[in-house]
Symmetry: C2
Subunit: 423 residues, 2 copies
């Protein structure tokens, strides 16, 4: 049967079985059947350069991670109500990547669970409920996080204890102070309304807001403002974490700050469901005195083995350095497209987390971004778009992306920009 | 180094790395290093009869499940924003086990995420917030579920939109009507307080309440009461599901009811983190029209392969029938202990989900239950205790439990009861 018929049948079957809350990427969704390194393959054998998936951070189907999972699964898979060394070895190794203040870690299965737990801890330790997030933030899908994730576009009005602030917009000397002022204003508004603050929660690369990374350090005044208001600062590293920013493992480190809690997930097990929340021990002491926590699958020996294997590969293959080196090359090549294409307003990001903002006549060019994302998919390159106007091309490939992949991506984007320019 | 020193060092290391919110089983926690079928082994080589862990439902380290995970992990592990057939094949197979009304399924990674999602759907579709749960219920660890899980013993007062009802206590003709009356009273109280009802949420085996299964059908009047009040009925099958009750795959089926939503998890992937929420399509139509849902790891091809392998093994090895057969034998043997031990007040349950209630002088014998659980651990048999008084021995072994394991368990319990009788 023709590939298109088959795809339409799969979509119909999917809608029937999984319902309408799920979304597919692209006007012509991709039916993937195989992955290897930086490549995904569809059912017709066509190959796609994966310039989007951060989950497979060490490359699709990395043999070392698969082997670690299979080996541990054959020996033991239980939970944290028994003693087991792998989870402690992994916790120790993970914690060694954080500032000394972040001394303990709790394991979950998803970034949503990690953020939800951080929120529970923040609310317990501050006796407050108020949370500040950015205007197009995404932090997860639990009930408590959906109301902190305006990028989901839910029709529900924002909950009374939530305040939205504009994401940092420009990479200038004033960026940090402007952002901190918004944060201060939001805390003052909480105070006027009798809402006790609990947390400032931000994705340290502002992914769904449109990718804002510079200048390094701009988060510091906002974190100080949060502390001055009695709130905790939660660094959501689910997207920027594990070396993607090309400089150490964590996005917050670029800003010279020490969070009170750090959440992480997506790339942590290269696709195996593992996530975590690391925190200051004094916070967990208070939380632990009032609550106990058990996550049946969280921190099981197989997940710990997967997490350990990912850290091994990142280290052995020098992937943080690669993210820095290849990321710099990619930004330089993308930046050169600005001279050739009026649509390209700005190229920004850190390491292999890059946003390419498209604007037309001063306005966000969301429709052109969507056309370009779909055109690239047709030529065999996978990216997506983000930001409130959907006008920021989001480029976030596996960390094994090399110079040859940069060429393929930039040439394809150059061509797509040519064919989809507004005038 | 002696095993005890090593255990104490592990505990200290664990407290230092993971913090104080985690709990360990047993006065002398078990340091497990290997699992196989019905057996767990500690670092000293001692073997334990596992009569507690429902997650490893087809037995620890079942080769078929491991092979399915390793095979799919080597080919592809992505997410639901691309088309993939394994997740659809699995969804189809899973949905075929439900009444026709439950026509769609959404995938998460944990039972907590599944219950949290069911709650979001219920609140969206009813425009209500009120939820009824039982007095010692446990439904998960997200912020929204912690307030519906009084068994966590949180010091926070119950949230204003939550009503607690006593779990069914006696297996009599009136059990269903008594439970339904409590439910009606709780809905009436919501109405008086201007709280619009959203859901009645129960674990269909009432595990943390102390295991209540009989008479079959007792849930029906309460479900009718929920519907009459405009609320939805959510069957939490995270513990009783996947054949444990020895009669079909689902605990609700014993009660001759059709839930509006069903949540499942723990045994679904035999330890691999997979969970789900199945629902009436009209509910998901309404939810999908107002919200989109994406769970990065939920429903990935590897998780789907693990889930499919578990269903294969349950079917090929006849584990539902075994749960019914071995469960009946186990209950019969446990019931015979009543004549020998005054402490044993009642033996109840369904299939391989059994509660043994201990009472002394008419009162719940929680201390004796704890002593017996710890004594069994010393002799190499793993169980736990549940219920508001901690006086119900909770027996919930992998479904591959056989007659020879029944002998080992009952003989050990007989001895532990002898040595720990109140005098």
């Amino acid at each position: 049967m023709p590939a298109e018929t088959s795809t339409q049948q799969l979509i119909a079957r999917r809608n029937r079985l999984l319902g309408p809350a799920y979304r597919l990427f692209y006007e012509q969704p991709v039916h993937v059947v195989r992955g290897e390194g930086i490549w995904l393959y569809d059912a017709a054998g066509k190959r796609y350069l994966d310039a989007y998936n951060n989950v497979a951070c060490v490359g699709h189907c990395h043999p070392r991670v698969i082997e670690a999972i299979a080996r541990q699964a054959a020996v033991l898979n239980t939970h944290t109500r028994y003693l087991h060394e792998t989870i402690l070895d992994y916790a120790e190794r993970l914690l060694a990547t954080f500032p000394a203040e972040i001394g303990q870690v709790m394991f979950t299965c998803t970034g949503s669970e990690a953020n939800d737990l951080a929120l529970r801890v923040a609310r317990t330790c501050t006796s407050g409920t108020g949370v500040i997030v950015t205007r197009t933030a995404y932090h997860g899908v639990t009930g408590a996080l959906a109301e902190l994730s305006p990028s989901l576009g839910l029709p529900e009005p924002t909950a009374p204890h939530v305040r939205l602030v504009p994401a940092p917009q420009s990479a200038g000397d004033e960026t940090g102070e402007i952002f901190a002022n918004h944060v201060r204003t939001a805390f003052a508004d909480m105070a006027r309304n009798g809402i006790r603050p609990a947390a400032l929660l931000v994705d340290t690369i502002f992914s769904s807001d449109g990718v804002f990374a510079d200048p390094p350090g701009f988060l510091r005044p906002a974190v100080e403002a949060a502390h001055a208001a009695g709130a905790l600062f939660i660094a959501d590293e689910v997207q920027p974490g594990f070396g993607r920013c090309g400089q150490g493992l964590w996005g917050f480190a670029r800003h010279g700050i020490v969070p009170d809690m750090v959440t992480m997930g997506k790339p942590m097990g290269n696709g195996h469901p593992i996530a975590a929340m690391a925190a200051r021990p004094d916070l967990l002491r208070e939380f632990g005195a009032r609550s106990r926590y058990f996550n049946t699958f969280g921190g099981n020996p197989v997940s710990a083995a997967a997490g350990m294997a990912v850290l091994d590969v990142i280290e052995r293959e020098g992937l943080v350095e690669n993210a820095g080196r290849t990321g710099a090359l990619l930004r330089q090549r993308l930046d050169a497209l600005r001279a050739r294409h009026e649509l390209v307003a700005e190229v920004r990001g850190a390491g292999l987390f890059i946003g390419v903002e498209l604007r037309h006549g001063g306005a966000p060019a969301g429709q052109q971004a969507a056309r370009i994302v779909n055109a690239l998919r047709e030529t065999g390159v996978l990216i997506s778009a983000a930001g409130p106007g959907g006008n920021v091309l989001k480029i976030r490939p596996p960390l094994v992306f090399g110079a040859e992949h940069v060429d393929l991506l930039v040439d394809a984007l150059d061509q797509a920009l040519l064919e989809n320019s507004p005038g």
